[in-house]
Symmetry: C2
Subunit: 535 residues, 2 copies
Amino acid sequence: MYVIQYNDDIVVIDAGGMFPDESLLGIDLIIPDVTYLEENREKIRALVVTHGHEDHIGGVPYFLKKLNVPIYATRFTLGLIELKLEEHRLKRDTKLVPIDADSELEFGEIKVSFFKVSHSIPDCLGIVFHTPEGNVVHTGDFKFDLTPANNQYSDIHKMAEIGQKGVLALISESTNAERKGITPSEQMVGSHMLEAFLRATGKIFVSTFASNVNRVQQVVEACLETNRKLALLGRSMVNVVDVAIERGYLHVPEGMLIAAGEIEKFAPERVAILCTGSQGEPNAALGRLASGSYRDASIYPDDTVILAASPIPGNEKDVSRIIDNLFQRGAHVIYGSGSSTGMHVSGHGYQEDLKLMLTLMKPTYFIPIHGEYRMLHHHRMLAESVGVEKGNTFIIRNGDVVDIQDRVARQTRSVPAGDTYVDGVSVGDVGEIVLRDRRQLSEDGMLVIVLTLSKRDQRIIQGPDTITRGFVYVKESENLMREINSLVKKTVNDLQEENIRQWNVIKQNIKKAVGQYLFKETKRKPMILPIIIEI
Amino acid sequence: MYVIQYNDDIVVIDAGGMFPDESLLGIDLIIPDVTYLEENREKIRALVVTHGHEDHIGGVPYFLKKLNVPIYATRFTLGLIELKLEEHRLKRDTKLVPIDADSELEFGEIKVSFFKVSHSIPDCLGIVFHTPEGNVVHTGDFKFDLTPANNQYSDIHKMAEIGQKGVLALISESTNAERKGITPSEQMVGSHMLEAFLRATGKIFVSTFASNVNRVQQVVEACLETNRKLALLGRSMVNVVDVAIERGYLHVPEGMLIAAGEIEKFAPERVAILCTGSQGEPNAALGRLASGSYRDASIYPDDTVILAASPIPGNEKDVSRIIDNLFQRGAHVIYGSGSSTGMHVSGHGYQEDLKLMLTLMKPTYFIPIHGEYRMLHHHRMLAESVGVEKGNTFIIRNGDVVDIQDRVARQTRSVPAGDTYVDGVSVGDVGEIVLRDRRQLSEDGMLVIVLTLSKRDQRIIQGPDTITRGFVYVKESENLMREINSLVKKTVNDLQEENIRQWNVIKQNIKKAVGQYLFKETKRKPMILPIIIEI
């Protein structure tokens, strides 16, 4: 999420959601912290969304619950946003404004215009913010594909024009700033897809991101060429394809689509299946197909499975597990990029794409975004290589502010920002403490030690009883348990003799004694939870 | 671990350890289940180790604790094994027999000979088992490097001779069966290393596996060329280099090595540092250097950091996190394995290497090992492409047995086998139940609900009190807690009226009621632990 502010007018760009890595135990989604925006809610004029990928719209519902501002996006992007709003029952109360590359808007003193960019989802925009200080350009996610599918090209002429008029600051994505050369064209996938379809004898399963409509279109073309029906598996695949067809971004011949239930009715060589799960999610369609637990369809020997997406960093293991299962079912599995058989091309520009954007825009100041630090670093190098002055590039962190005054940019201050965790339905109630506990619990489990003391003389009336979870098999560790209990008894009695009666002290000592003993015996540090009842 | 058995003679090959992925919460190491061997302990003649990598020797100490058999390995491999035995105080009671490629041994009716193979650690062996049925060859891990460092070549002539004499079954590793072409030579790394050293202005940090002695040797050569002292950071780096020098596998000029404490005493351009942590381990030397928390040395702008190892699948994220930190410190970071600047080559043969091995050995039967299923599958294809008959390849799982009788091989039965988990000091006491608990705890944490009932009439005397960990911030969830307690009260009272007094029933109902309520409210499923005290 990025924010453009001029005096008392604020325009927000994108409201993404990020999926957590394993270290964030139990967290379902990460969304931006919008404290600063809440403090300036009266200044916010609009949320403008560049395109419909999760990391740009995933946070929209949560954002709206805090800040109900009108949303501006292209028709396809709005379609995907609407799916989310329906889930969260927010559609009725939200103002959605469809725009296109020719739209021109005014938000207070900020004028906004757009330009088409090519990416791995239809209808993507770059944004120009015209301010009295000068023009600021946000590229959105992009690549230059000169032979795009479905006419989703990057509008080089308009970009050149924007650059000619002068760009004060360029904000550009850096995902592939480490990759040399220029991004291969989506057409490459199309031809490889067709070859695979022509070679295939049995059923064909293609797994890709539902939102990659151009790729879906190429699957449709291949089905047409090879006279196959097409079935859709997986909720998001069905939903997104619906939106794409209904809004005219995807063209499927009458009668080609069949229901999942009909797959087995056709001869294998007459059917293709588009399914979710390209990232190895065990419960998505492909994952269940690979494990043989999908109701409507099964993978038989000689079926072909095409993974038309490359694993996002962190998903490699899940994906390769699924590939293994597919091979074990005897399927022909086509995976991996690589120009020879490649079934995937990136939607993000490589170094030459990024340099072309920089060259077209000729910005005075440059702010590389969207990527790990090393990618931003490489993007800065690229910028300097095409003429951006040293020192005019700002590598910023979440919350950092770049102030531009009298055409001079400075990065001095920052505002509250960061990650907000969504766990289940509640937002922001899980933080470091809770996560730290989850981490300890996940490593070595826990022990609950219950004992009942008499109010009068602190004698132990009952217990201690020890309950463990996630620590060891109790039945195989009776000695350990016996030791713990006698250790607790001893600890409590010793304290009694010293006449120490504060619960917190008793609990601390129990924790300490048992903790040290267990670490000595097992080298583990389970969470220890002493519970004292006084009667 | 593989087992060759002829009648009443058993020879065990390797005893590795595997590092668990995130799904095995808290598990430190995975070792082979040796039930079958324990049942046949009197038949075991030897443990023969092909080379000194963790996944081939990591399980040795645990193996010895159950089965104290003599270990046969080359001098370098033995050196690494001894380090482990010292840790586990097993050295005194273990019989270690040094061997080399020319050794010939007899274990009952099984004669054993060896051949040199090239890999990413010195002194690797392939093994030939001469049995009355015929010869079985185990390749160990290998590649063909015609210009190896330190003369660690694969002995093609001896392999050819073995093949000529006839190989009944070949057991060959499959790690890179998916990779086309032939493995690049270690020499490539050497030249790139030297270039980087010649270009570098500040300190040079090189991170690689300590056991990759040939690469360490190339770093030493580069230091010599560029007149730099060399420091070693990280316990395993120090230990392994000691073993390598002492046993003559690594040659370091007099006076080149300096202590970690001396690094800052020399001019930056006169020092190089070899450190552990190439897999992104946050607590290894490189990880601590990257986060600026290493006592003896720091990374300054213009220092060069070379990652001379590629991340093992699953470690990508940790490694890239460290690369980011290094860039943020202003270091020149050289990483990735492109042939242009590549600082790493694989120690495992690519497809052409594997085909060459198959061609040299001309086996009747083929057993691809060491790799995910898809790699074994590809290796089978390679074998058939060079003449192994269809149907003569056996893709086996842990515990599967390939029986060969009258020169006919069958895979019909299997023996107890699988993974044994090591958690802390104890082996095998953590299984699925404990892990399942840890998983639940890690996802949503837990609630302990304590209430005291009167023996007489089951009245609630105290409580219910609810303690949570890893679930939510209690102070922000007082309503939730209040709700839970009244829900528990109600549940208990209702049961009383029905005169139900069994604890397990009461507990079950509490779990059910609270669980449903919490899922409705929070969409989370914490572990619920009702504790009832009766007075």
